[in-house]
Symmetry: C2
């Protein structure tokens, strides 16, 4: 398990001034991504304030050695897969070295003048951010129990939470080819739908376009086919987390999802924040998984690990913001649609991984797992419009007087996440946004 | 649409003697695959009788030029993706040239002595066959209407075929990482199951291990995100077909599949035949899609194309064989579990592709689509044990006196497919087998 060390010290400041007090990327974070500038080839980088440390340049700088150099070299390709495949050791060594090089007064202590490190920095404003990894397979879970209950109530009022929910970390396979980094346009898909009172289905632009607030899990090291991952080792296979928006066409979903689950209602786009917050960075924010409510079944042994229960939840605040074209034109700030803790997950990340591999399913470096929508039990905490508007029956009203049941063309939707805990400097993911195009 | 040309002539014979009268690989077939021998690197090949034509060697031989040379060069890598990405033109040019080079008396006519071609042949018995392509995403459909009805009857006796079935080519995302070529061991997975009368679920080796007889579709060229593929162009994006066994854990499936569909019950292994039968090779076997039964709805326009209806089905006989360890020890031939035509598909391959991309979902070279289980309406034609044994209630008896409800350790299951039509030489896929290991 990653430990809290000097790289997390709240007193740590960077000579990269924009990092100090930065909402997402203070020196305590150091998330990994892939960037390019102009026609340059994409390569790995680390976010620090409003700058990116170029890992390909770092690998060639002579400023790193040993495991950290191995990691920087592996991060010089156009995806982080080679780095993620190295596992936690080299990734942590790189973190420690980069932290030292970027610390105020630390570059010199680390045997490198700040003047040697500064040329390795690229302004984030000049960079294009890519997907951090080449995704093998993408799986979406359903661990937000309040979401499952809320949605279940809408689809199956008599039977909201199915009998398997508290025993099985329910998940299904998603589409890897349509995962995009923050900022990718949300092209309103066409689809086959049938209103409950319609005689026959029809095909055209979908009407009930929704978002889903999720976390994404990037797999570091995989397992061989036929070799399950024990729950006690599950987090060793995880590289880090991201924000994830599972855009959804609710009208398509309602018509297509029986009996094999969501398909075209979900696979037209999935947006992730391009920065991978490493397991090392989020170590201070790991908290105990909330105890299961009285009467809930104890998970089967393959899903149960005391250490995971002790530190498997996250002290992480999640938010969703909406701004319409009209709001932006009028200079009105985005409206917050929801706000809640990520602790509303019934299953931990380790339980998701252990369950996924429990039948010997081969997991690979760069695989992406979504948590499923993270909602709370109360109004203001739900992670989708489907829940907020009660399937479109209760529109919300915006400051412009506009109303919304689902997303309309021109709407910009942004997810945000912020790790917060006493005694640690808060860190975040950066943006995870998309604007709807008709 | 591929046309019937000289490469299909029934009179065509090869100087590779084993090809003439070969069950699967006469000169009229020329399927594509990836092979290696010993420590040599994997590269593309074409099956001819019991030999493989080495496409990397062909590319360097001086015996091909133009588009056929481009294709052979693209097939020199360790996956066929570069070749498949070239589309039908270069693939067909390679087919024509290889056909000429391998035809009895044809090598000389084609300006190349047989003695120049012979060194490019590798005995299949000495080769390891790999997956033909690097799979991006794997999707499984559900187009076998009799299977859907049979399974629906078992899971939902009152509601076997759901209202969307005749309007929507139902499909769901599968797991790309666990697709393997014929011969890969079928490791009996562990899983969480709950018998209907059990108080609580349990975890252990699954008991109801089944197969599913399917066809696989290899995508050639893809589409850009947000750009649907019109049905009239859908087959231009398809490279060819394969046999596919969607191994299934029925006890896991029954407990996990609501509400998001099959997951661990399906993703522990999918086996494909390693030879890709090209759209060019199967041109003589394209037949009219059977008319929809009276009263069935006409598909929406995005799924309807007259040319597809005229030639969208296949004259293809499918079979499944089982042999137990005891049968093999006693020298007893495998028992045929099912036999039926592939025309039992309610939706065509073109309809599957057009539906998949209708929402703008990005499809890529090397994507794999399964048809779903192809069953007929009658006993002896069902493509899974779930159907044959009525969910285990009606065991089958084997020549050894053994009985089976589902697969047991040591059982070997083999799929076979044979394109048959008047006036054409029959072709096949080669093997698609797996043996269960406990």
């Amino acid at each position: 398990m990653p430990t809290i060390d000097a790289t997390h010290a709240p007193t740590l400041r960077s000579w990269v001034e924009s990092a100090n007090g930065h909402r997402d990327f203070p020196i305590q974070n150091l998330p990994l991504g892939v960037f390019s500038r102009g026609d340059e080839r994409p390569r790995g980088g680390i976010a620090i304030g409003d700058m990116i440390l170029d890992l390909a340049a770092l690998a060639g700088s002579g400023l790193v050695e040993g495991a950290a150099l191995d990691a920087a070299r592996a991060a010089s390709a156009d995806s982080l897969n080679p780095l993620l495949a190295l596992g936690a050791g080299p990734r942590a060594a790189l973190r420690r070295r980069v932290s030292a090089l970027l610390t105020e007064g630390g570059a010199e202590q680390a045997g490198a003048g700040r003047s040697e490190v500064e040329p390795l920095l690229v302004p984030m404003a000049e960079a294009t951010l890519h997907l951090p990894a080449r995704i093998g397979d993408y799986t979406d879970f359903y661990v937000g129990i309040h979401h499952a209950t809320n949605i279940g109530t809408l689809f199956r009022p008599d039977n909201p939470l199915l009998p398997n929910y508290k025993h099985v970390p329910i998940g299904y396979h998603g589409r890897a080819s349509t995962v995009r980094p923050s900022g990718a346009p949300v092209i309103r898909p066409q689809g086959q739908t049938k209103a409950p009172d319609a005689e026959a289905p029809s095909f055209g632009p979908i009407k009930r376009l929704d978002y889903e607030l999720e976390l994404g899990v990037w797999m570091g090291t995989g397992n061989a086919l036929g070799q399950p991952i024990p729950i006690g080792e599950a987090l060793d296979h995880v590289a880090g987390l991201t924000l994830l928006n599972d855009w959804s066409a609710r009208d398509v979903q309602a018509w297509e999802y029986q009996p094999l689950g969501p398909f075209l209602s979900k696979n037209f786009l999935t947006t992730v924040s391009p920065w991978l917050v490493t397991m090392e960075a989020l170590a201070p924010f790991r908290i105990a998984q909330p105890p299961r409510p009285e009467g809930d079944p104890r998970p089967l042994p393959y899903l149960w690990d005391e250490a995971d229960q002790a530190g498997g939840a996250l002290s992480l605040e999640l938010e969703v913001f909406l701004s319409t074209a009209k709001m932006r034109a009028a200079g009105i700030a985005p409206v917050r649609l929801s706000h809640g803790p990520a602790a509303n997950m019934y299953w931990t990340v380790a339980q998701m991984v252990a369950h996924h591999a429990s039948n010997g399913c081969e997991m690979n470096t760069g695989d992406l797992l979504g948590t499923g929508t993270i909602s709370g039990p109360d109004d203001g905490t739900q992670g989708s419009l489907m829940e907020i508007t009660r399937s479109g029956r209760q529109p919300i009203t915006l400051p412009t007087g506009e109303t919304r049941t689902f997303l309309e063309d021109g709407d910009e939707l942004a997810l945000a996440g912020r790790f917060v805990t006493d005694g640690a400097v808060s860190i975040g993911f950066g943006g995870c946004t998309g604007t709807v195009q008709g």
